[in-house]
Symmetry: D2
Subunit: 98 residues, 4 copies
């Protein structure tokens, strides 16, 4: 069973709660800035566990202390509850921020 | 002491040895494809150690089983021995490839 | 629903297939030796993903290039299919061995 | 050049500053407790980077949310500045604690 694409209203409501996330190229998008590479990669490792456990993986890039995460549900070419849920879990991590 | 920018000839010679690497946007560039996310992130973890120990970090992105690495030496806005050396160390890892 | 404790015969049969594993202190036990710390921790990262996804975690220790894994199902204070299954997944990783 | 074994007074002084560390079996020793496995392994990943960069590695074990670290300098079969320094770096990590 494929997840259902979120409506524009549902996306808006989500972004009001998670204000550091935006929509970029049709994806849920956020950049994180850490103190250094070790802190950035420590965060990535935790996100990687969440993603693997949810079987839902980000498109993400890292350059030294910066980590950029993009989320989309490829099955429906749009944003779904699976993306919202991964954001919630990522944001619930108590990672050290710069 | 800043590292010295490699000459076009030195870059060419390097690419002849590491044939899966190319120049893209002025950076040493390669994409790796793994069996799955776990293998991809296991590889990334090993590269992260090499990078941190060398104090020279990649710009890289991951999407499920794909890892793309870009290397440049920001101090000289070009490719240097530090980039060559990190490639050599990455390629010396015996990681499982798809 | 708790998993069922494996019978001595089932354990024996399993150990005949996975000959580098033994029983030690009532746990499925194996030591791995890698080339260096980076390879060892790269392996650990992959095992950590398998464990988290299975929601079944090892007791393990690391000293430089050595990783020792012990598995038991705490709910039944014995070895169960959950332990066998995690061993199968770990052994299916194509990690580089010394 | 080998590092020099710390005197009992130097060790005592260190333990007064890092009160959650003790001496156990001739090693600097501490147990950390995290919220869950993901937080524990995220912490381990950061420590692994510090260790690899210092070329000084712990003997450590993990069971779910618990991480136990033991440090000794094998060259001199005792505790040295290298161990003190790794503790300082580990304790400077801002990891989330239960």
């Amino acid at each position: 069973m494929s997840p259902i694409k979120a409506s524009p209203d549902q996306v808006d409501q989500f972004l009001q709660e998670y204000v550091l996330w935006t929509i970029k190229n049709g994806r849920l998008h956020r950049q994180y800035v850490f103190k250094n590479f070790v802190q950035a990669f420590g965060f990535m490792t935790q996100v990687a566990f969440l993603a693997e456990r949810a079987d839902h993986h980000p498109e993400w890039l890292n350059a030294y202390n910066k980590v950029t995460i993009d989320l989309i549900t490829h099955d429906v070419q749009g944003i779904t509850e699976r993306d919202f849920d991964l954001v919630r879990k990522i944001e619930a991590l108590q990672y050290p921020i710069k």
